[in-house]
């Protein structure tokens, strides 16, 4: 690590090996990779099922989802994401990083940051459904099993982000 930085974070290579071991154990135990966006989809489907059962029966997506899944909330990813919340909280507690704040570049306002986070989230949410998985579900887990789709998605995510980075530099630097 650089001398200028006094990092409290793990060395990225150590973190990477640890993350790799987590992913490996997911594959070894459950035969599948990690994920995140799928859990949100489960929440959405089960909300629609409860709030608007008529709609869930008629709209193509929910109808199919319910036909192929018994209980949307009883899914592997939902449990895993709960774990992520707990795990992140534990790590934040040990490292004394628990704090409510909006993180943003000093050049922009909190409001601007929040608006961009919302828009970015909407893009990411939509893209993750279309691309059948997000950075963790498709790109990382896919790469670990050498899935062609995983590599394509990974290249597209990082390629696009690099390509657009210039236009959004004010938000970050």
């Amino acid at each position: 690590m650089n001398e200028v930085k006094k990092t409290k974070y793990w060395n990225p290579y150590i973190g990477g090996v640890m993350l790799g071991l987590v992913l490996l154990s997911a594959n070894f135990i459950s035969g599948r990779g990690l994920g995140a966006s799928g859990a949100l989809k489960s929440v959405i489907v089960s909300t629609v099922n409860t709030v608007a059962p008529d709609h869930a029966e008629n709209a193509a997506f929910y109808k199919n989802y319910n036909e192929t899944h018994e209980n949307p909330m009883k899914s592997w990813l939902v449990f895993q994401v709960f774990g992520v919340l707990v795990g992140g909280f534990l790590s934040g507690t040990f490292a004394k990083r628990l704090k409510f704040k909006v993180e943003h570049s000093p050049k922009i306002s909190s409001k601007r940051r929040l608006v961009f986070a919302l828009i970015g989230g909407a893009f990411f949410g939509f893209g993750s459904q279309l691309g059948r998985g997000c950075t963790s579900g498709s790109a990382l887990s896919g790469m670990a099993v050498l899935s062609l789709g995983g590599f394509i998605t990974m290249a597209c995510i990082f390629g696009t982000a690099f390509g657009l980075a210039y236009f959004f530099r004010k938000n970050w630097i």
């Binding site: 993350l19 035969g31 949100l40 449990f79 909006v102 828009i119 062609l148």
Partner: protein, 196 residues
């Protein structure tokens, strides 16, 4: 032997419980590596912080090597592991949209959950956005169905696609990853930023 749940060494309910434990590990590692900070994540695209690149690729090659060695020792049957199916068009379009979301929002779904757990409010907004995006997809599904299902290629692996052996491709990937890490360290020195 593995995967345990498929070979019925553990029950589906135990599997869900283990999913929770795996999630804890996932969240803990992400947070400890600094993935709860959107500026750190976005830093990769400006060269001032390549943590994401290093963690991401180190994780991928660690898991990959682990899987291949497990398979070599007969501990895990690779043909029972889920391989993400490849739908060429939706993978590309979805990836491009996600890339745009990444640079605007500064998170991906997994890291957003991790960030919200330590109180980052921008992650909350991002998750709100995720909901909107997913609902837009599920509600408008008939519009995107054709794109979503186009160019189904089965579940090919990249080494099959390139006509290489699994091991050879993996070795190439590992070598490429270390090449990228070297570039990353160089970029961090060139565009130094203070820690936040």
């Amino acid at each position: 032997m593995g995967p345990l749940v498929v070979n019925e060494i553990i029950s589906p309910d135990t599997n869900l419980f283990l999913a929770f434990l795996i999630g804890i590990g996932f969240g803990f590692v992400l947070e400890s590596s600094g993935f709860s900070s959107s500026r750190k994540l976005a830093g990769m695209f400006y060269g001032y912080d390549t943590t994401v690149l290093k963690v991401f690729f180190t994780a991928a090659i660690t898991a990959l090597l682990g899987m291949l060695f497990f398979s070599l020792f007969g501990w895990v049957d690779l043909s029972l592991i889920y391989i993400n199916p490849t739908f060429l068009h939706s993978a590309i379009v979805g990836g491009v949209i996600m890339g745009a979301g990444f640079i605007m929002g500064g998170f991906c779904p997994g890291t957003a959950f991790c960030a919200i757990s330590i109180g980052k409010l921008d992650a909350l907004a991002f998750i709100g956005g995720l909901f909107l995006g997913i609902v837009a997809f599920t509600e408008g599904y008939p519009l995107f169905e054709e794109l979503y299902k186009a160019e189904f290629m089965g579940t090919p692996t990249i080494n099959e696609f390139l006509g290489l052996s699994r091991g050879l491709f993996s070795f190439g990937l590992i070598a490429a990853a270390f090449g990228m890490f070297w570039v990353g360290d160089w970029a961090e020195k060139k565009f130094p930023r203070e820690e936040y």
